[in-house]
């Protein structure tokens, strides 16, 4: 590779927005984090095998277990799964890319930099050391924790933003960009589980983001959300576990989807009772939000609530039992091909049963008391996270590696890896069940109270090293396959699914022509011309004679028993996809990283520098928009029930609004929670003038009205008048902010600051966050006004409508904040 070649190669990976590139970036980055996290585990396992030798200090041990836990859960398992999803989901549903390619790149860079932010703690006085659950009030007290804890908390917050963006993107893609005939019953299980995963992410991450922000304020500014008696540990527990328990299923679901697809392929038959499995998994999505309180059983909360959540925790196992059973029944009397992905999948089911069964005990209030904080829970949890999820991800990697690289791995070496992995995992974690509740978690030295535990710990550590050896072997297998593995056909497994009908590796544009799934399940690739000529219904109903010969692509029969692997050929007609690169996601994310390091270390220069870089990224983003570089149209022909006629931008915006509402709703919940635990609370009208609040409410409502009138004017083609209304919106919204600034100034001048008690802390945080949203709305409206004057909305007014929906959300939040802080 010459100098120019190297430069172009680097530039491509820094600026790519292609879903397959982003998928590979996710996979590689998550593997890097996995390596770091795994090394930390190796270190603390040695300490646990020989605690008398004090290989690491207590402080090092706490940092190691905390970073290990956080990385494995938040920076490895999910991102690795979403790396696969980035690559595979568009191929499975017949899309050319994700709905918003540039946002996809932004999600990735935010994710990558959030991981670096977490690890940057090792370069100050120590990385985050609170345990991965960051239990308050300890985590809220900087004097007892490392500076790296600040960075770790901000890393979690940044990751939450990345996840929310991903959620919007995947949801819009899966519901709006499926190929014609890709009905919901035909959607592969992996894509189904990714859809369910993002639904859970949508509502689980905002509470985590809020919890992180409040915790950071407690540590740096001196607020008392988690150190006061009214908030304290219970508030943290609620916020954290409302995220934390759905997170378990967020990690699990993509793995289940992989297992279902792999088992179906190598058992040579469809997944048994697929529709019931989908329904069961959907029910579990709803239930996942209704079990978090079992993590609070020993906190002294009301018995009735504990009973209810004991019940919900017990019943959530039923959908998963159904899913495991469906997979097992699929194998019954099947002609199974024992390839490496299949072997890893079978082992994953076995571990899922062990991990699942041992988890049901936690539903019991009594047993939960005994097992709380003990190695029983560690073993249960790792059988699910490692034995099930990681095994499923390895299965997925081997399964799709030939598709992604066009090369095959060594089956022999992969089977040796499998044997090592199963032995290593069970030697590592099974002894931890035997420890039951004798061995408490997060102890780096247990000899002084129970020296008998040493044998089990030594066995466990030996298992850890065997398991690590299997992973290093896996890395070698991947390397060999990618560099010198034998070439493979489009469908080496004889698998069912759209991704197997295109060459390996897939072309940049994915599909030649539009894939159409016909009534008998076969696929044809047709051009726009052919669709116009025959009509989609006729093509789908197979009533166009000789289409296969005439159409641009070949026919691929999806029948289970006779899968074929002929890739689609023909012209790249009908594709609107063009390759775009953008540096703005990288710049924007880099700015976030620098600014947050500055915030974490309370370094104003770094904070300012990061903010400037961030806004440079925003500026570049806007310029790209103005140039129309990223106006990726929706596919003309698609299967998008039940969202027919609703464009992807509206789906994306409403998804975003749902997440944002939950963000503010969580904060309002914090207010209600804290207030309900306080006997004394000054009425709002004692601190703030209700008439000023009312006037400001009128101002904000008026700004929304003016925006709506601007939108209507634009619809009538009155661009000058529309721009005038938008200017009015900006003026009124700015007036609203000016009034807020004056109010804040007066409060501060009267010595009412963030350390003046919880009512004012809540006031500052909630109105501050709302104010930030108003400012964002002003910037967006200024953009809309400018584009209106440039005549950019003569054909499509989607952007104008999106900003209007956003303003609506800002108004709605204020309808709650006004009475909360000015009236009651």
């Amino acid at each position: 590779m010459g100098e120019d070649g190297l430069k172009n190669w680097i530039l491509r990976w820094l600026t790519t927005t292609n879903h397959k590139d982003i998928g590979i970036l996710y996979i590689v980055t998550s593997l890097y984090f996995f390596f770091i996290s795994g090394m930390l585990a190796m270190i603390f396992r040695v300490q646990l095998a020989a605690p008398e030798s004090n290989i690491i200090t207590g402080s090092d041990f706490y940092q190691a277990v905390t970073v290990h836990g956080l990385i494995m859960l938040l920076w490895f398992l999910s991102p690795f799964a979403f790396g696969l999803a980035n690559y595979i989901v568009p191929l499975q549903i017949g899309a050319r890319d994700l709905a918003f390619p540039r946002l996809n790149a932004l999600s990735y860079w935010l994710y990558a930099f959030s991981g670096f932010l977490l690890l940057s703690g090792f370069f100050v006085d120590g990385a985050i050391d609170t345990g991965w659950t960051l239990y308050a009030p300890l985590s809220a007290l900087p004097q007892y924790t490392t500076t790296g804890t600040n960075l770790g908390i901000l890393a979690i917050a940044l990751l939450s933003v990345s996840v929310t963006i991903s959620t919007v993107n995947f949801l819009a893609t899966i519901v709006k960009m499926r190929a014609p005939g890709m009905t919901w019953t035909r959607v592969p299980m992996f894509t189904w589980t990714i859809l369910f995963t993002v639904l859970m992410m949508l509502l689980a991450f905002p509470p985590l983001l809020i919890a992180g922000v409040l915790l950071f304020l407690d540590r740096v500014i001196g607020t008392t959300f988690f150190t006061s008696l009214q908030g304290g540990a219970l508030l943290w527990d609620h916020l954290f576990w409302f995220f934390g328990h759905p997170e378990v299923y967020i990690l699990l679901y993509p793995g289940l989807g992989i297992l279902a697809d792999v088992i179906s392929t190598f058992a040579r038959r469809p997944l048994y009772a697929k529709r019931f499995v989908i329904i069961a998994l959907f029910i579990a999505v709803a239930l996942s939000y209704l079990v978090w309180i079992h993590h609070l059983f020993i906190t002294g909360i009301g018995l009735t609530v504990r009973k209810i959540f004991s019940f919900t925790t017990a019943i959530i196992s039923i959908p998963f039992e159904m899913t495991a059973l469906a997979m097992i029944v699929t194998l019954y009397k099947a002609r199974i091909k024992y390839t490496a992905p299949m072997l890893f999948s079978l082992a994953a089911i076995f571990h899922f049963i062990i991990g699942g069964a041992t988890g049901v005990y936690q539903a019991s209030i009594i047993l939960d008391k005994a097992f709380r904080g003990a190695y029983w829970v560690v073993a249960h949890f790792h059988y699910i996270m490692v034995g099930t999820v990681l095994f499923a991800l390895i299965a997925g990697m081997y399964y799709w590696l030939p598709k992604m690289t066009g090369r095959m791995y060594s089956e022999k070496l992969a089977k040796i890896q499998f044997v090592l992995a199963v032995i290593g995992l069970n030697v590592l974690y099974f002894p931890q069940f035997i420890m039951i509740d004798d061995m408490p978690r997060r102890y780096y030295d247990y000899l002084h109270f129970n020296p008998d535990l040493k044998t089990l710990n030594v066995i466990s550590t030996i298992g850890a090293y065997i398991f690590a050896a299997s992973l290093f072997l896996g890395a070698y297998i991947l390397y060999k396959a990618i560099t010198s593995g034998p070439r493979v056909s489009a469908n080496p497994w004889g698998a069912w699914g759209l991704e197997w009908t295109i060459p390996s590796p897939p072309p940049r544009h994915n599909f030649d022509g539009t894939p159409v799934i016909r009534s008998d399940g076969s696929v044809v690739y047709v051009s726009d011309r052919e669709i116009s000529k025959y009509g989609l219904p006729a093509i789908m109903n197979m009533s166009v004679p000789g289409l296969d010969a005439e159409a641009s692509g070949s026919s691929v029969n999806w029948s289970r028993e006779t899968p074929q692997s002929t890739p689609g050929k023909g012209h790249h007609e009908g594709s609107h996809h063009e390759e775009h690169g953008s540096i703005s996601p990288l710049v924007l994310s880099l700015g976030s990283l620098v600014a947050l390091i500055g915030a974490g270390l309370t370094s104003v220069p770094l904070l300012l520098a990061g903010t400037i870089i961030f806004f440079l990224g925003i500026g570049k983003w806007i310029i790209e928009d103005i140039r129309g570089k990223f106006s990726e149209p929706e596919p003309k022909y698609k299967d998008d029930w039940p969202f027919i006629g609703v464009d992807k931008f509206r789906i994306g915006m409403w998804t975003f609004i749902a997440g944002e509402s939950f963000l503010f709703g969580t904060l309002i919940g914090v207010y209600i929670f804290i207030r309900s635990r306080s006997l004394a609370w000054p009425p709002g009208y004692e601190l703030h003038d209700p008439m000023i609040g009312l006037a400001n409410t009128f101002i904000l409502f008026t700004s929304a009205l003016l925006y709506g009138l601007g939108y209507l004017s634009l619809r009538r083609g009155l661009e000058g008048r529309a721009a005038g209304f938008f200017a009015g919106t900006i003026m009124f919204a700015s007036l609203f902010m000016a009034v807020k600034a004056i109010e804040w100034g007066e409060l501060v001048s009267e010595s009412y600051t963030l350390s003046s008690g919880l009512p004012l802390q809540l006031y500052y945080v909630l109105t501050g966050l709302h104010g930030a949203h108003v400012v964002a709305g002003i910037i967006a409206t200024a953009y809309v006004m400018m584009r209106t004057l440039m005549g950019a909305y003569r054909s499509s007014k989607t952007t104008v409508l999106m900003v209007g929906i956003y303003w609506g959300m800002v108004e709605i939040v204020w309808t709650f904040l006004f009475p909360m802080f000015y009236l009651i």
Partner: protein
């Protein structure tokens, strides 16, 4: 929106909704200042819900969106109510702490 045809809303509806929002905000202040609300907290949150519905249905055009789109904010609201209710209920049995508020 273009795909479904434009929303049917007009200036009159916008202005009418805006007026209702102003009036309800005014009523809120009057009722609280006069001290005639049976339960001020329930009252203001109920009024906020009314205003939220108006904004969502008309300013955000949710009224004319298909049910599948309506489901997104509605399910979010439902889960939020579950979170807040369960969290608050779980600690109601605990003794409230004195002096929590004090500004």
């Amino acid at each position: 929106m273009e795909a479904r045809g434009e929303f049917r809303i007009n200036e009159t509806v916008y202005v009418a909704v805006w007026l209702v929002l102003l009036v309800t905000a005014g009523i809120e202040v009057y009722v609280i200042k006069a001290g005639i609300a049976f339960n001020p907290i329930v009252f203001v949150f109920s009024m906020a819900m009314v205003q939220t519905s108006l904004i969502a249905l008309f300013f955000q055009h949710l009224r004319e969106e298909p049910s599948s789109v309506k489901l997104l904010p509605v399910s979010s609201l439902f889960m939020l109510i579950v979170l807040i209710s369960a969290a608050v209920t779980s600690v109601l049995a605990c003794t409230p702490y004195l002096g929590g508020g004090g500004a």
